[in-house]
């Protein structure tokens, strides 16, 4: 299946203050898009907008699958959105959080599958301890475990590398590359210097609305 995301002339104003304007870009399946920009330049807003959670914008964007534009209800079934907020509850254990999240995605997981998904992000123990007792890096891993629940073509990840140690960062980079290689479409924001990923598309945001999007036109490299 081929997937494309097209944005045309996107503009967002919050309280009469321009966040970005005339933002156009195109990302297709098999590509990684890296959204960069200083704090407050609208990276998170852009990701929320693209998954349909932000209604106050002008311009257009389309998610397409096999040349058909996806309606919002169908889009929900195709994407994983990870915001800077954790989306996990501190009083629940990693396993319970994951089970809840899987249910929202319409997936039933056995206890074994849940543990595998957690083990894949390097959480080998503490499955049933409340998340409140975990370190911030471990919480980030719990968040990332949802990427392994089911295959969804669109990944929108806001600061996925935050609080991770070096090994986990490298591991996540490989994971993003693998996802793109499998035909998925990855959009992520990050301030990190990336060691492995060569993003195909770079979307540069700037405070004051100066921005550019650049299609590097190279394969994702491992």
């Amino acid at each position: 299946m081929s997937f494309v995301l097209e944005a045309e002339q996107l503009c967002v104003d919050i309280d009469d203050h321009e966040i970005f304007s005339n933002l156009s870009f195109r990302v297709s399946g098999g590509q990684c898009a890296h959204i960069t920009g200083p704090n407050g330049s609208g990276k998170s807003t852009l990701l929320m907008l693209l998954c349909g959670l932000f209604a106050d914008y002008r311009g257009q964007y389309r998610w397409r699958c096999e040349d058909e534009t996806l309606q919002p209800a169908l889009l929900c079934e195709r994407l994983i959105f990870m915001s800077t907020k954790s989306g996990i509850h501190e009083a629940l254990s990693p396993e319970e959080n994951l089970a809840w999240y899987a249910a929202l995605m319409g997936v039933r997981l056995t206890a074994k599958q849940r543990r595998e998904a957690l083990a894949r992000v390097g959480l080998q123990t503490g499955f049933s301890r409340p998340v409140a007792t975990l370190s911030s890096g471990q919480r980030q891993r719990v968040k990332l475990a949802r990427l392994g629940i089911a295959w969804r073509p669109f990944w929108l990840l806001d600061e996925p590398f935050t609080a991770l140690d070096h090994a986990a960062v490298a591991d996540l980079e490989t994971r993003l590359i693998d996802h793109a290689k499998a035909g998925g479409l990855v959009l992520f924001t990050s301030h990190h210097r990336l060691a492995h990923i060569r993003p195909n598309v770079k979307i540069q945001l700037a405070v004051g609305g100066i921005l550019s999007s650049e299609n590097m036109d190279v394969g994702v490299q491992g």
Binding site: M48, F54, A55, L79, H89, L104
Partner: protein
């Protein structure tokens, strides 16, 4: 359909687990309700002539105020943690999420008030034959209070210090409930037809179950956008 129910079940189970693990949130209204009613005989005078006429009013005012406690935090944790975003992105609409959350909240913070009312009415010398009407009016009325409070909680989600605003939004909407509920008991004690009052309460309950999640879901959607 099975997937749909599976999601609803997961949301309901998560709510129940979270409520059980944070007992202060639902114990607070219950303790408040009990304390207010127990303090009345001490504060006024523990004799039947003084307490019996005001018993219904006291029980209902205590229930109304108790139902407000903690309700402003109904969606706060999920909003701040980002769980609300994820629910907004799931295949199930926020309408059902709101309905379930409010129902579970009522189950823990509202139903105990209904169950405690017969016991606490002894403190206020409520005539024994009126107790079941009070309980029935609470059973029909407290869920409406919970739904109205939830609308307020959802609207004030992204405002700082929204609890005053919450009071201003919710109290006027709750006045009819307290009027019809206490009216039912008064009518019953005077031997007048009281079924009409209870029917109005039941109608308000049906309306709030069906319609308030629409308002709550719309407000939550705005709340998600205003991080």
């Amino acid at each position: 359909m099975r997937d749909f129910l599976h999601v609803l079940w997961a949301v309901a189970r998560r709510e129940c687990v979270l409520t059980v693990r944070a007992p202060t949130q639902w114990l607070h209204p219950v303790v408040f309700f009990t304390m207010v009613i127990v303090l009345f005989p001490l504060g006024i005078s523990p004799n039947q002539a003084a307490l019996s006429p005001i018993a219904v009013g006291v029980i209902w005012i205590a229930a109304l105020l108790a139902s407000m406690l903690g309700s402003e935090r109904l969606f706060e944790a999920d909003h701040q943690s980002g769980a609300l975003e994820q629910m907004a992105l799931s295949s199930v609409s926020l309408y059902w999420v709101a309905l379930i959350k409010v129902f579970v909240h009522w189950l823990f913070a509202g139903l105990p008030l209904v169950l405690l009312a017969p016991l606490l009415s002894l403190f206020l010398f409520l005539p024994m034959n009126e107790v079941w009407v009070v309980v029935l009016s609470l059973l029909l009325g407290t869920p409406v209070l919970a739904f109205v409070n939830a609308i307020g909680a959802a609207i004030t989600l992204s405002t700082r210090g929204g609890s005053v605003l919450l009071l201003l939004i919710c109290l006027p909407l709750q006045i009819p409930i307290i009027i019809f509920a206490t009216g039912a008991v008064k009518a019953f004690s005077e031997g007048l037809p009281y079924e009409g009052y209870l029917a109005v309460l039941a109608a308000l309950l049906s309306l709030s179950v069906v319609l308030s999640p629409v308002a709550i879901a719309a407000a939550l959607q705005v709340g998600v956008q205003n991080r």
